[in-house]
Symmetry: none
Subunit: 161 residues, 2 copies
Amino acid sequence: MQVADFKSFWIKYKDILLYGCSMAACMFLLNWMELRFVVYDHAFELFIGCIALLFTALGIWLALKLSKPKVQTIIVEKEIPVLSTDHFVPDEAAIRRLDLSKREVEVLGLMAKGLSNQEIANTLFISLSTIKTHNQSLFVKLDVKRRTQAIERARALRVIP
Amino acid sequence: MQVADFKSFWIKYKDILLYGCSMAACMFLLNWMELRFVVYDHAFELFIGCIALLFTALGIWLALKLSKPKVQTIIVEKEIPVLSTDHFVPDEAAIRRLDLSKREVEVLGLMAKGLSNQEIANTLFISLSTIKTHNQSLFVKLDVKRRTQAIERARALRVIP
DNA sequence: ATTTCGGTCATACTTTCGGCCGATTTTGCC
DNA sequence: GGCAAAATCGGCCGAAAGTATGACCGAAAT
């Protein structure tokens, strides 16, 4: 495809080609002007004007080419539907972000299974008081007031299945 | 911190500073190399050069002044995990099998959202006692002892998301 | 060496929940 | 209208959950 080849070639070397062409055009123009106006007709002011125009254009081109664009960062929240996978993998990132300790996640899991505080305590071979302490930090970290809310929130954050 | 200030200043205005310094150096060089002679001999070229420089500067200034500021927008997508509850359909068969009434399923749903009995009562515009009654029948029908168990069980039976 | 942090435990208290009794009203249906 | 199921409401009491506070220990970090 000759057309497509030319197109990609054009896109690739656009700047260089343009620069070369305009350079040639300028040369020709200068030569022509020098011959006709400056050398023979002494239209000196016109020549100066052309020079001024040319270099003004050059300056504009330079400025537009070299000016650094302001960078504006926009953060877009993108919802990612979580696939219903058979094998649940806890969101380690979420756990780290929430600053949940291993033990707290453990308690959270048992809580979500419907165990009472006492049952959790028996399961983990620690006292009821400790469970309550863990619960407290869990509630604070998850920003909730009740165990049911904690379960709901933890599930939404994929900390527990 | 003076050093850091200088560094950031340098990075910011590197081009301008370099330009200024080299310009000064050139000036000095010209002067040192018997400026008068050079000037006298190449007065015309120098004049043209000055014009060119001047109007290049003018062009740059014009472009910077009049052109719309370039804004490069970077869109950063932040991933938000969302529970894919979009296609949840309650298992009507399970509900019928468990003999759950409409109201009971309703209460169950709010319970799973983490609401307290009082909050559920306020939401449904009924009294706390009624919620407790509903809870009782729910617990019996689901064969559980606690609301957390009820939630877990109902979720397993696909009665609630 | 001191601080920090996770984990442990305790006491005392308030609130909420659950269990169990009862009751009335509403709704849907034959 | 009569009936059954559903829905509503109340009280009581103990159990469980949650709040507040303080303490101890050991490992890790500083």
